[in-house]
């Protein structure tokens, strides 16, 4: 399994895109342009990108409340994403969903989810559909460390393994379920250890190393596609910012946050790509500038988009 230079540069670009997106969202939020709340994934970019890089086009994902990165990596369009966060009619959900409910069924993104663990059986069901239709698709199920203590995690993984469903469970263990440290919430040492209970492989991977995530998930995706059943991959990572917009970070130290910032997945990958001769500083700078330009264009699009009409408030409740 080798990664092409093209794929490596795609992964770099996507991680950078997520970082820029999230930081711009943070600014828009502080400027009171985003209503409600949102959960940012700054620091966790390698997990979303590395995992999704292992999928084929047409494969499906389910995402979480911290889902902007998954959507971007899956091919989500930045203008429609910003428009959704600004509550505009042109947003992915016509302004009905907001940050926690962005979905893009056409690209196989079955949606972010406001309920911790809520997407786990949904991904399992999508995989059952693929098995029944024999369409060869794999579903990637993202969830956080908090979700691994929900009952539905247990129910779903048991069933997926029993029925050998083409699904890969990717736990983004960012060390905290809101404010509660993983060690205080979970009796097992690792989420991946729980795979043994479901008779499926459990893999632990450095979630800040995009290639490591890619290779671990690729192996699981290949296994799933061959009909050999699900895998539980645990990517250890860290969220740099607060849980949501109201978080004062009282439950962790500045030192701890700074320590993790040193493991920045984007900086690390940039150094690796230059060292390996995949790209020069200038070439990567150029990619970054292009991303920054596209982000600004997307924000402009969102700002200039129309508000949804109150007359249409009940559109889409029923098919």
């Amino acid at each position: 399994m080798e990664l092409t230079a093209e794929k490596k540069l795609w992964m770099y670009k996507k991680m950078y895109e997520i970082r820029c997106f999230e930081l711009e969202v943070d600014k828009l939020f502080k400027a009171n342009m985003i209503w409600g709340t949102c959960h940012l994934s700054v620091g966790e970019e390698a997990t979303a990108v590395g995992a999704i890089a292992a999928l084929e086009e047409g494969d499906m994902i389910t995402s979480t409340h911290r889902g902007h990165g998954h959507c971007i990596a899956k091919g989500g369009k930045l203008p429609q994403m910003f428009a959704e966060l600004l509550g505009k009619e042109t947003g992915y959900c016509r302004g009905r969903g907001g940050s926690m409910h962005i979905a893009d069924i056409e690209t196989g993104n079955l949606g972010a989810n406001g309920i911790v663990g809520g997407g786990i059986p949904i991904a399992t069901g999508a995989a059952l559909a693929s098995k029944m239709k024999k369409d060869g698709k794999v579903t990637l199920c993202f969830f956080g460390d908090g979700a691994n203590n929900q009952g539905v995690f247990h129910e779903s993984l048991n069933i997926a393994s029993l029925w050998k469903l083409p699904v890969v469970y990717v736990c983004e263990n960012n060390q905290y379920g809101m404010s509660v440290a993983f060690k205080k919430s979970t009796a097992a040492e690792n989420v991946a250890d729980r795979a043994a209970a479901y008779n499926m492989p459990g893999e632990i991977v450095d979630g800040n190393d995009v290639e490591a995530v890619y290779f671990a998930v690729k192996k699981a995706v290949d296994r799933a596609r061959k009909g050999e059943g699900p895998t539980l991959v645990e990517a250890k990572t860290y969220r740099w910012l607060g849980h949501s917009k109201s978080d004062a970070n009282l439950y962790r130290t500045k030192e701890e946050i700074e320590e993790w910032k040193k493991k920045c997945p984007i900086k690390r990958y940039r150094a690796k790509l230059i060292k390996e001769g995949v790209a020069t500083e200038e070439e990567l700078d150029k990619i970054e500038k292009e991303v920054e330009r596209k982000i600004q264009e997307a924000i402009e699009y969102a700002k200039n988009s129309p508000e949804p009409s109150v007359e249409d408030i009940a559109d889409g409740v029923y098919a």
Binding site: C93, H101, L110, A126, A129, V152, S156, N158, G316
Partner: protein, 325 residues
Amino acid sequence: MAEKLYIEALREGLREELLRDEKVFLLGEDIGIYGGAFGVTKGLVQEFGEERIIDTPISEQAITGIAVGAAIAGMRPVVEIMFFDFLTLAMDQLVNQGAKIRYMFGGKAKVPMVVRAPMGCGTGAAAQHSQSFPGIFAHFPGLKVVMPSTPYDVKGLIKAAIRDDNPVLFAEHKLLYRVKGEVPDEEYVLPLGKADIKRKGKDVTIVAGSIMVIRALEAAKELEKEGIDVEVIDPRTLKPLDMKTIIDSVKKTGRVLIVEDDPVSFGWGAEIAAGIVGSEAFDYLDAPVKRLGGLDIPIPYNPNLERHAVPQVEDIVKAVKDLLR
């Protein structure tokens, strides 16, 4: 036209949809070789195989969530929850996921799934296997709620529910499974959202759902002996709710009794009562709107107590007489 049991008509409806559309499949606890706790799916695994009649572990939330995921991905799952009471275990997936997904995603996803569950008391199963509460599901935007009372209706409505592109909660009263009725030999589908006049009459309207339709019809027979002519309306689906048929009937009779199997407090009967008094039928009322329903208690075990927990034929007869007093 042949006489069939409710359970047979329901099974036929499921079978016809399984034959018609390969995207349709069933999943639930003990629905395979066992045939379902009440025998609804008997014989289907032999005909359609284990890939389409799927026995699941006892995991109501995952089963329901798997149906949501399979539905979004293009299948048409039909879930059996063994007892209506167990729906409480699946609430997140039904209410927060299945029901809300389409709207949350800006109308860009479809969730065509059916969740069937047997409800109601009268079998001595006590509090955790006997409650009827389809009414609460009608309170959740995004769900449809169906509760057929006859063999004819259950077959036509299960087919409609399976073909509908929305999540549908399908409530089957256990005591109805053994009720007989005429079922046409040719294929038919009934619309969701259309009430049915089960008996025409001019003196009093009874709006009843599910098992209470059977009891209301028996009560009507009793009352007929005393010269009281009762009209019985079965909404058949709580959501969408056909208020027009009810309002038209009340305008004709001027008196209405609403009978439900759900606990009467905050029950769906209140919604119908409000719909009547808030409509032009208000001016036609000759007596206050009357309601009967389950007592505000968990269903008790003792057969005599159990019987008194929900309306019986004699309660309906008495309530109609009170209305005419």
